[in-house]
Amino acid sequence: MKQLIQILEGLGSTLQLLMRAASYAGTLPRQIGRFVEQCYTIGYTTLPIVAILSFFIGSVLALQSGHAAENFGPKQFIGLLVGLSMAAELGPVMVAVLLAGRVGSAIAAELASMKVYQEIDALETMNIPPARILVLPRLAAILVMMPVLTIIADLVGWFGGAIVAKYTHFISIEPESYFATMRQYMEFRDVWNGLVKAEVFGFVIVLVSCNIGLNTRGGPREIGASVTRAVVVSLILILVLDYFVTKALM
């Protein structure tokens, strides 16, 4: 019962934070510096790890499906399989998981320590709403950066699969054939749905992490607890929302 109330409390406070941040949306042009900084942290610095991870996800997808297809034939569809899996599911979800671990935890830690060391209180005393200068630029930054990260993850994953498909001796599919099946059977809609999904995930991760960080109470020990909670809640929400968003987009 207590946990249910906690969940509802968390949901309510998150929505309130969203409303407050949205109400300051007009101030964004004046916060361009903060916005760019957040874009840099969230997007640019996350790129290498996203690229490495998605390259190997694409490779292993091609390898596994090629190994499975070896026995019954339709190897030429490996391109389609890797393409669809990366674009529709693995690209957005893996980028979201990475962001939850890398960005969500950082946001939660930063805001929690600000809260614990009463910087947030100081801001409020100066009539500077934290939702305006701390949450809004992050939300805006993730909305802008998430599609970029996701499309890079998709493409790098596709190329990883293509390289594995060409150079693995039991698959040996030329990149032309690999991308031809992708082009033939995939539509941009598949990629677009993945981008929409990623946008939802990123937005939720940042919002939840901000909310948990701002609601930290107690001493420095609570900072670590908040970070853990932010990451765990983000991961759960990613997979739960994944199902519903996918269903909604079908």
Partner: protein
């Protein structure tokens, strides 16, 4: 504080993302912002088999649209086809359900139709034809298999025989087992002969193994050849003679081919015969001479008389002698 380098990186990064999204979009959707709605036509079939929504519609192998929906209409199934708006289908074109694989991936194949026909209007119905699906092919294969089994069974009966009589194989078996001894003996002989041949024994063996015999044989053959040439000349000469005879030239020719000679011979033969007949019957002087003893005796008597007369004539002179001979003769 805005770090200019940071801003530039973020801007570049964002532009890169946009560019990649645009490239993906161009590649996958062919640059059409909104999906080409195209136009729809209806194809009615007895059965849609494995056809489902979203399957391709192809003309001469090129994708020209998709199956928009499938539905039951009365006593047949209908597939609504969405055709790209830049593709025109002829009124007499025919659609059929084609299998592209064994695992249930089908598409609708539309042929080109005739060049002169008009275009099919949106919403119109296209002609269809039934193509055999995997199930009917399998059924045919099954009946073919049964026939094959029958044929092989009767072949087997012919080979192995039924309960009533022996089959071909049994007959061959019996033949072989009955004559096994003979066959073995024959084979032994053949072997013996071949061994002898190999060793150069006997005429044939020598012929095969001895070069001298071979040379002799070649010489003999040459001789035979020259003999044959002579024989040919001889035959040619004979032919020439026969030709001359046939042409009635020379004695033989005249004899064989000239009627007058024949007739003469016949007459001569008849005369000879009548003379000999008369002789046999004792007619005429010679006949009597031959057949009648009395003539001989008369002659002998005459001769005696003549002898006597001649003895007595020594002096009487020749006239008396003639008179005496004439007297004794007549």
């Amino acid at each position: 504080m805005i770090n200019m380098q940071q801003t530039a990186r973020v801007g570049l990064f964002f532009l890169l993302g946009l560019a990649l999204i645009w490239v993906t979009f161009e590649t996958l959707s062919g640059g059409k912002v909104f999906k080409d709605k195209g136009y729809q036509i209806v194809a009615g079939f007895e059965s849609l088999k494995e056809l489902k929504e979203g399957d391709d519609v192809r003309m001469a192998g090129v994708k020209i649209g998709t199956v928009a929906s499938t539905r039951l209409a009365g006593r047949r199934a209908e597939a609504v086809l969405r055709i790209d708006s830049d593709v025109k289908i002829k009124e007499d074109a025919t659609a059929s359900i084609v299998m592209s694989g064994l695992i249930g991936t089908n598409y609708i194949g539309v042929d080109l139709g005739s060049a002169g026909a008009g275009d099919l209007r949106p919403g119109a119905e296209i002609h269809t034809k039934v193509t055999p699906d995997i199930n009917s092919v399998m059924t045919q294969l099954g009946s073919l298999g049964a026939k094959l089994e029958d044929t092989l069974g009767s072949l087997g009966t012919a080979m192995n025989g039924n309960g009533k009589g022996p089959g071909l194989l049994q007959k061959i078996d019996k033949l072989v087992s009955d004559n096994g001894e003979n066959v073995t003996a024959t084979m032994a002989n053949v072997r013996q002969v071949s061994e002898k041949l190999n060793k150069g024994e006997g005429t044939l063996g020598k012929l095969i193994n001895d070069p001298k015999l071979h040379d002799d044989l070649v010489a003999s053959v040459a001789e035979i050849k020259s003999t044959a040439t002579e024989a040919r000349n001889f035959v040619a000469d004979a032919q020439n003679i026969v030709d001359q005879v046939k042409a009635g030239r020379g004695t033989l020719g005249a004899l064989v081919y000239d009627d007058t000679t024949g007739n003469n011979i016949k007459v001569t033969a008849a005369n000879l015969r009548s003379v000999s007949d008369k002789l046999a019957r004792g007619e005429g002087t010679l006949g009597k001479l031959i057949n009648d003893d009395s003539t001989l005796r008369d002659a002998q008597a005459v001769m005696k008389k003549a002898n006597t007369a001649l003895d007595g004539l020594g002096d009487s002179g020749p006239i008396t002698a003639v008179g005496i001979v004439a007297k004794s003769l007549f």
